[in-house]
Amino acid sequence: MIQPRPAADRSAYPAFEATDLVYRYGDHTALDGLTFSVPAGSTFGLLGPNGSGKTTLFRIVSTLLRPLSGTAAVHQHDCANQPGDVRRMLGVIFQQPALDAELSITENLRVHAALVGIPRDEADGRIHAILDQFDLVSRANDRVKTLSGGLARRADLARGFLHRPKLLLLDEPTTGLDPIARRDLWDALARLQRLEGTTLLIATHLMDEAERCDDVLILDRGRAVAQGSPESLRATLGTEALWLDSDDAETLADLLTDRLGLTAHVLGRRVLVDHDDPASMISRIYEAAGERIVSATVRRPTLEDVFVARTGERPAFSVAAF
């Protein structure tokens, strides 16, 4: 797991700050008064299903969209009114690698160096250094189209870090990668971040990726429904809990309340039973409502449980194995 970053990396002011951000596409509200801030030097996860507003937020941060109201600021520079300053501090990793398939890694990075204004006489040295850090030197002259998905991703990450951005946005950067490539990518990210002190703002819908972040914000329909470290978020659901999977969670919860006097919360297709000693209750629960129960688990809450509890939805996505 990620080592805690040295305290010196954290500046007095946040790397990113959103205040009451609102954005609409016609009738559809994508961001609904979103407020949060990202401490400098941290790894910050934005966890939310598709349509929760992650992409819209990223477009606003990367100065491609102007918010209808509210403000977004990168190191205290307003994204809407000082786009030039914001772009200089920003690196963006898109869902698809921003590399030309026909060009080699080095050629791609040379074009990018020109785009981000790295002086010509420094560019090649910088490119070599970043390729070295990402273990890509031996493939430097290979065309991107000949690289595996994982390697192309790493090359794209090298692109994102090339100009030493203060804030790096990553929009579901492990999309389409197998578990090993995904872990490699996260390790490379963590290494680089320790070295450069970059703030990482990562959109993901994978719970185990969110677990690797210092802070997580759960986004639901354009609003922040929970924020904190993964541990503190899990702690809001207690230490251990009994989870019942059911085809008809509402009825099951009613049965448990009526027959056993238990406090039961319906979370999507699950029922969470509040009890000090949940394991002791299992046999009585089965006697009372066994026919409604598909499975019963006593375990510590996961981030996914927090997500379900806060959004009231069972996530339409799976937990990928690391």
Partner: protein
């Protein structure tokens, strides 16, 4: 800004040189058009008002225009995808002006179109055309203006679309008819008044007219629509300038979402 334009220009050339299908496609298809149409209409074509001009000869400047059009289309159709998967997405969030992004892409597309068109022009002596120095200058200027106009137009279309399928549809609906009605295919003198006016309103008409003039200078070209060369050239350059303006305006709008 110069550095960004240069880097994007170079990128365009590099990509092109590595894509053999593209090199061949933009040259061979017009060449095939020229030979097939030229021979097919060999006996039936007659210049309105007489004159001894074979269809191969008549079609020649039109094929130059077609090469310019195809190369421009091929170099801009990629932009539809590159906004989602290529370096271009990074360019949009880089601290560079939109103008330099447009100019870099245009410079690349125009260079390629011009190179392919000049290559085809080497065949001019085959139909008995040997341009003078002044004529060559007019040809290059007309080619540059048309290449710029077509590339900028293709860029604008690509920027507003999310799929290459859409681009193909517009190509068939707008760009090809634009070529067919440019005087490349048949002279305006021989068609009904209504069609003739559509041709006069087509900005590509003036580029093709200037090209045709250039091939015959200092003699008068057959079917120049009675237009002075300088006026045809001026209108073609104006068209190019307008298309560049449109491309810059399109990209400059802050939102790049196709709403």
């Amino acid at each position: 800004m110069y550095r960004v334009v240069r880097a994007l220009w170079q990128r365009e050339i590099q990509k092109f040189l590595r894509d053999r299908a593209r090199i061949v496609g933009a040259l061979v298809q017009p060449l095939a058009f020229w030979v097939l149409l030229g021979l097919g209409f060999y006996d039936s074509f007659q210049m309105p008002g007489g004159g001894d001009v074979s269809y191969l000869e008549y079609l020649f400047p039109g094929i130059v225009a077609l090469i310019l059009l195809f190369t421009a289309i091929f170099s801009t159709i990629y932009i539809v995808e590159e906004r989602q998967t290529g370096l271009l997405q990074a360019a949009l969030v880089a601290p560079v002006s939109r103008l330099s992004i447009v100019l870099g892409n245009l410079a690349g597309g125009v260079t390629l179109a011009l190179a392919e068109a000049l290559l085809f022009l080497l065949l001019a002596p085959l139909v008995g055309l040997t341009p003078s120095v002044v004529g060559l200058l007019v040809i290059v200027l007309a080619s540059v203006s048309m290449a710029t106009a077509f590339t900028a137009l293709g860029f604008t279309i690509a920027w507003r679309l999310d799929t290459t399928r859409g681009f193909h549809a517009i190509m068939n609906l707008v760009l090809l008819p634009m070529w067919i009605l440019s005087g490349a295919f048949f002279p305006p003198e021989g068609v009904p008044m209504a069609v003739r006016w559509v041709m006069y309103l087509n900005p590509a008409f003036y580029g093709v007219a200037a090209l045709r003039d250039g091939l015959y200078l200092p003699d008068a070209a057959p079917s120049a629509a009675g237009l002075p060369t300088s006026l045809a050239l001026g209108l073609s350059v104006a068209f190019a300038a307008a298309m560049v303006g449109l491309a810059v305006w399109t990209v400059q709008r802050r939102s790049t979402v196709a709403a």
